[in-house]
């Protein structure tokens, strides 16, 4: 090996004044003001001159620290132009960097020089030194001659001083460069963060969906410096996209643009569920003619995803061709996620609203008024999922003052359960109106269910209340038993023999059980959501409700509110909750009631009077006669009383000894009825009662009817 390896210089060169001058030239403070590139070039210039070399070059370690890359060269500029790379540890420069000391090669032909350029250039001798800054190697400086040349120790020292000078500048420059890059990175991160914040802005949540989409599109257009932005939604069949919101290309929405899924720009994004970037619209399969008409050149689009399912596409476009970065794409996806969430929430909210409206329409809006009864009901849908439940209740008159009360619970939730519930409710009403006895109503309901919806199970209870005889007929099809609060405030469940749930067997037969319901009692019907609470046995739930009923029965409203409040206090119900209460108001021996001047009020008067007469010990024929007589007086009051409102006429009933006295008062003037077949009222009253007196006063008219009860022998 003919290479000579120079020893590390021991100190500053001494001797010739020329050497000092040379040294000054490479340590010149004025060089500090140059940029790194200029500094390196100036150093190469001066070194070549001082050392009379033909070539000079700086190679710097790259970021990996494994490779030297030509950075500046003189006389051998191709090194930089071609980007020569020398592995550390190999060849001339590689060994200088690895071994951190100067190397002198007297004759290139007999050395392991890797760089082919040096040979091509015809370089014969080489001297190189490491660039060391802050104790680490940052590169190599070498000089070469086209003729064989001996480099002295002083040459080596001078080169090393120049190298140290360069190393310092390179170190500084690199530190500065790193700092600048770091600053740029952080600035970019801040910009992205700001953009992200603008997209995820919590304030947007308070906007309506349409406003939110418009704001998002406007912001995306600003942030991404795009000219257009648009959102297309997947239609329900999943086969077409329809423009929902747009900025800069509003025609898309106005014209209701629809695009097929699977083809074209937006269609492919929806089908392939990933972003698509189109650098040049002219050379792509963009289907939407509007995009072309608008002169859009570049497009970037991302899918709107909700729980992995595509619901639409968001895209931005520019009128000049441009690239989009990963950051741009991520930001657009973020906006898309935000939009997707908002749309999804809005749809869920809308569905809930519709469901709640539907549910309300399927249940009775108003239970109506029943003289002598207090009725009320509450319904609360489960807290989870769709608002549509299968719980139902109903209450309706079934003639002769009796009422039918139904409650049921269709297994399952959602539209199907609600629809079935509605069918059951209507069907039960129809059978009840047809006059079927309660057991027969439920038998038919069961057969109808088997026909309507085979293999569907549902529990139901149907009760008929006869206020006149204060009896309750109960038919249960697997439903929890009714709770009855007695007049003394004690509550108990009716001991019913519960039939099988509806829909189990076409051949099920149901039986009615009759219970006495003393005036002052309250019947409470409910669905199992009321008594089935998580982590609690059914018996506990039933007992909880029973105790609540004994505490909170000041009125049916208080009772039902308490039931619902308790459910809410325990956390929103996991199941639908329906509760209905009917209170049989006790009638005193002396009753005064007020009625509106409407023909519809007559049935109420009649039914209440019948109940009172029976309570006074009247027999069927007496009850009928007195009721008819009273109705004649009431019909007249309805016809002639001119007071509007709910209290246009009054009916007072009392018993004096064995005589029943009914007084019907109104504020109108009594008139004899006219017409061929009118005017039978008065003779009928007179025939049916012991006495009829009509009193005209300044305020109106009073008809006093009296009849002695035959069967009312004192005990």
């Amino acid at each position: 090996m003919e290479t000579w390896e120079a020893s590390t210089p021991a100190g500053l060169p001494t001797g010739a004044p020329q050497a000092l001058a040379d040294l000054q030239r490479v340590t010149d403070a004025a060089l500090s003001h140059l940029s790194l590139n200029s500094l390196l070039a100036a150093l190469l210039e001066r070194i070549a001159e001082i050392l009379h070399s033909d070539t000079a070059a700086f190679l710097l370690l790259d970021d990996s620290g494994d490779v030297l890359v030509a950075r500046a060269a003189k006389g051998i500029e191709e090194e930089v132009e071609q980007g020569v790379r020398i592995p550390v540890g190999r060849g001339f420069a590689g060994r200088i960097a690895a071994e951190r000391h100067p190397i002198y090669i007297p004759d290139v032909d007999h050395a392991d020089v890797l760089n082919p350029l040096l040979r091509q250039k015809g370089i014969r001798s080489l001297l190189g030194v490491p660039l060391v800054a802050s104790g680490r190697v940052v590169g190599v400086l070498h000089v070469g001659t086209l003729t064989p040349r001996v480099f002295t120790a002083a040459d080596t020292e001078l080169l090393q001083v120049a190298a140290d000078r360069a190393a310092l500048a390179i170190d500084h420059a690199q530190a500065y460069e790193h700092e600048r890059e770091a600053r740029e990175r952080s600035e970019r991160a801040v910009r992205v963060l700001e953009s992200v914040q603008r997209v995820t802005d919590a304030a947007l949540a308070y906007l309506s969906t349409d406003e939110l989409l418009n704001v998002l599109l406007e912001r995306m257009r600003e942030i991404l410096h795009a000219d257009t932005a648009a959102i297309l939604m997947l239609e329900h069949d999943g086969r077409m996209l329809r423009a929902r919101a747009a900025k800069g290309i509003e025609e898309e929405v106005e014209q209701g643009v629809r695009l097929p899924v699977g083809r074209g720009f937006a269609g492919r994004i929806a089908a392939e569920r990933h972003p698509i970037f189109i650098p040049d619209v002219d050379h792509s399969d963009v289907l939407n003619p509007l995009l072309r008409e608008k002169g859009i050149r570049s497009l970037l689009g991302v899918p709107l995803l909700v729980e992995g399912r595509v619901i639409g596409v968001l895209h931005v476009g520019t009128l000049t061709p441009r690239e989009f970065t990963d950051d741009d794409r991520n930001l657009l996806q973020l906006a898309a996620d935000r939009a997707a969430l908002a749309i999804d929430h809005a749809e869920i909210y809308e569905q809930r609203r519709l469901a709640a409206a539907l549910q309300r329409s399927l249940l009775p809006q108003d239970l109506g008024e029943f003289p002598g009864l207090e009725v009320t009901a509450r319904y609360m849908p489960a807290a989870v999922g769709t608002a549509l439940g299968g719980d139902w209740y109903d209450l309706f008159p079934i003639g002769a003052g009796r009422i039918g009360i139904a409650v049921g619970d269709v297994v399952g939730r959602g539209l199907e359960a609600a629809a079935l519930m509605a069918q059951l409710r209507t069907t039960l009403r129809a059978y009840a109106f047809d006059g079927h006895p309660p057991a027969e109503v439920v038998d038919r309901l069961n057969r109808m269910l088997a026909y309507l919806r085979p293999a569907t199970m549902t529990t139901a209870a149907y009760l008929t209340l006869d206020p006149e005889r204060h009896t309750l007929q109960v038919v249960s099809a697997g439903h929890p038993p009714p709770l009855v609060i007695a007049p003394d405030g004690t509550a108990r469940y009716l001991p019913i023999k519960g039939g099988i749930a509806l829909g189990v067997s076409r051949g099920s037969r149901y039986a009615a059980q009759e219970f006495d319901l003393p005036p002052g009692s309250t019947v409470v019907l409910f669905t199992d959501g009321v008594v089935e609470v998580r982590g609690e046995a059914l018996d506990e739930g039933l007992e909880r409700l029973r105790l609540l009923a004994e505490r909170e029965h000041a009125s049916v409203d208080v009772l039902c509110d308490s039931v619902i409040e308790t459910m809410v206090a325990d956390g929103r119900p996991a199941d639908d909750v329906a509760v209905l209460a009917v209170h049989l108001v006790p009638l005193g021996d002396h009753v005064v009631t007020a009625w509106p001047a409407q023909a519809e009020a007559l049935a109420g008067v009649r039914h209440l009077l019948r109940r009172w007469l029976r309570q006074q010990g009247a027999v069927d024929d007496e009850i009928y006669d007195i009721t008819v007589a009273c109705q004649e007086a009431c019909a007249n009051a309805v016809e002639h009383a001119y007071a509007p409102g709910k209290e246009a006429f009054e009916v007072e009933a009392r018993k004096v000894g064995r005589t029943v006295e009914i007084v019907v008062r109104d504020r109108g003037q009594w008139r004899r009825a006219r017409g061929t077949h009118r005017g039978r009222g008065m003779p009928m009253m007179e025939a049916l009662m012991d006495s009829v007196h009509v009193q005209h006063t300044a305020d109106g008219t009073a008809v006093i009817l009296r009849r002695e009860l035959a069967g009312d022998a004192p005990a």
Partner: protein
Amino acid sequence: MSTLARIEDEWHHEVPVARLKGEVDTSNVDEVRERLRSLLTNRSVALVIDLSQTTYLDSAGINLLFALGDEMRGRQQRLAVVVADPSPIARMITLTGLDQAMPVRPTLAEALGDVRGPGE
């Protein structure tokens, strides 16, 4: 039709029978009248109104029967009423003299016999 009453009809050859179930008072008498008239055409010969399942009937209903009887008589049509006897409504009919104005019978067969007349 209000929920107080409902009318079921059945046909015995040419004669419609209207079975009035429930209660008739001032509030629903007009609906009942319309429903009964709808069972009649110009070619009808008779109508039977069955009150055996009627639970309440007052002067409004009695007036309706009188008026309907008059109307039908004017068109050479016959009206008969079925009512259980004894019953509160039967007493009401006797009291008002309706049984003097048209045949009132305890069974449907007898009422049909009345309106069909001889030869049918």
